[in-house]
Symmetry: D3
Subunit: 154 residues, 6 copies
């Protein structure tokens, strides 16, 4: 068992030129745990919900496209589609990001990058209501970021 | 209790011009759960450890500086220092990112962005050894991303 | 009367180090002319309006922060606040972008960049309904991009 | 008639994986209205003309390549060629941007982005001569940005 | 003999759409001349060597991917692999960068960009030991950046 | 003597918050060696000279502003001015880049980044005339990149 990106000469962007172009799909999920009041504020707000989720979606879509600039050894990939969706729990919001391409290498890092940037964008927008009186975040957590499905070929 | 970034006109980058420039520090932490063999491979490898951690550190430092480009409503901040460190558990690596500035607004989003990009970079480098025979990731998880300290003034 | 950015040696980013830090504000406006049906579709749509405008706002805020990367001779400026708002006419949407900073040089290029990227983002989202049967855009136009106010000092 | 980028789940980067790779071309135009003296200054200046137009061309070419980073729902597209040209009127400069690719989706947003960034770059370079004694821009306007031709297949 | 990127209308990103996709490889090299003590410090340091070289490798790999954003007339190219390696002389470090793609145009600018950013990153990390007592760099030089091999087809 | 950016915990962006804001200037130079015919072609061409040099200047100015994104451990610095100039020899072009700021840390990496990207941009524009019949570059070299002056305080 070996790490493919590292050898005695350091790190590299591994060669994928010999791999065929096939359909690739990856779905990642992750969760931000918030105060129940914060979730309610977003969920029930007429404007809040649309705007917080739209900001998170757009930030995620842009971040997916920036993956090879953020994760040093990722290949630039011509992506064909990106979806970002949300589910609400009592004290959390769960983000799902699905990324698709027709290329030589998988897109799970892209889906994971989309999920994390969506979650960070939600955090940024609820800072004022999540902080305690000392400016700390006793409740806010990003949790359970994972790849739930990775697909190759049709 | 209100969200400060959202109102009936949508989202905005909130005005901070009236706030004084003070010393700001934020420390965030997060964890990637890996197979015990993967952790061992990194930890005991002569080259692997240095290279995986260096890649994660550098990716994190660059990502911290890109925060206002990734998180739409963050302000551009002239940062004065960034540290990224690691601790190993049996089946996880924990990343700590500390960011400092002398400015009008806090740097916790920067520290959180650094932590998540460090964790994603580790994931990317261990893909080959974390995937199962179906190309899925039954063990790999990013967990417990949080702000452990936020400081303002001296 | 002379162009300040160009001389016999070519172009330069002009020195502003001797200028004092003062409060700066600029407001720019511009308009996208659309089919009346498209405007109605956005305006009356429950989800459409929020999402199209949120996408345009967020794209504009991110673009304002990227101004020195897009307009070659612009200085990097530590911005303190950005607002993007919309007005609807029968066959157009008007975008207003206000940018504020406390710095040595004005922010009108930032406000203009925000307006144009908001307008382009709206265009991108209504492509399917604006195109005619030959895939052309007989109606869509971006018009009247201008600086409506530029302020310096208090 | 429906917006393709927006639905009840918010915005998405629409799937184009099923579309064939064909030759794509789009030509966009737009105009900056300036004081007649400013146009004369650029047009007749030995160095001014070359440098202002070269700056605008290069800014436009770089911006075309950045389109998917600026317009959130645009796909990354492997572009094959970009041309940016200028025509002078008595009190305006008109920019034309032609973009070509061999891909699954059209390039009109790329051509429009090139035109607007060229026009903004010209504005930035003539600020000193366009402003009035109060630092305002009574004449300067960006106008009539449009797609003049969109072509698909050969 | 003519420059292909420049004509009476200024500069352009030349059309490559008619060229076939073939395997492309380019290898560039370059050297940073340093004080012998600095080279020794890096070479013999337990942590220094790994970290300086890892930082330079990662910066180079990221810069290779940014080439079309840095060099205005370069095409965006879907790269398939990148290697960055080092050799030590008594008073210099030599960097080699190999870039591969399967595309319509060559990758020598990408390889050259990787080499130069690796060399600049090394310079940045040894500033404290290379500067003399007046804060100047009497010894440090970047030298002999060249394309040592360019390959097209198999 | 120690490297300041590296320690047993890896690399970091060193803290500069305690340093005073002072005037900073750095001048870097470097040279691209070309065939004498290529230099003549640029130098004597009516359009060639202006356009090649304008492209190199603008690429350099944009790259200076991107330094903290390219060189991982560089601080973001609010730059106040950038000049890029050229001198012609019989078989070379020499680039000088001067960068100024009022900040806590020096700008020599910015000046060096400007010089190297100007030189790479020239190389890119003369590829067609520098290559031999096998597509190789027997003459082209980037040489002698150095900091010629670094100034701090007034």
């Amino acid at each position: 068992m070996k790490l493919t990106h590292v050898d005695e000469r350091g790190v590299k962007m591994v060669e994928v030129g010999h791999k065929p172009d096939v359909i690739r799909k990856a779905i990642a999920k992750g969760r931000i745990r918030l105060r129940a009041e914060t979730v309610r504020l977003i969920r029930e707000g007429k404007v809040e919900k649309g705007n917080v989720l739209a900001a998170a979606q757009i930030a995620a879509i842009l971040a997916v496209k920036k993956t090879p600039e953020l994760i040093p050894l990722c290949h630039p990939i011509p992506l064909t589609g990106i979806d970002v969706t949300f589910e609400f729990g009592e004290d959390y919001i769960e983000v799902t990001c699905e990324v698709r391409a027709h290329y030589k290498t998988g897109v799970e890092m892209e889906a994971l990058t989309g999920v994390t940037v969506a979650l960070l964008t939600i955090w940024d927008m609820v800072k004022a209501v999540e902080k305690d009186e000392h400016g700390q975040y006793p409740f806010t957590r990003i949790e359970n970021i994972r790849v739930v499905e990775k697909m190759k070929g049709e």
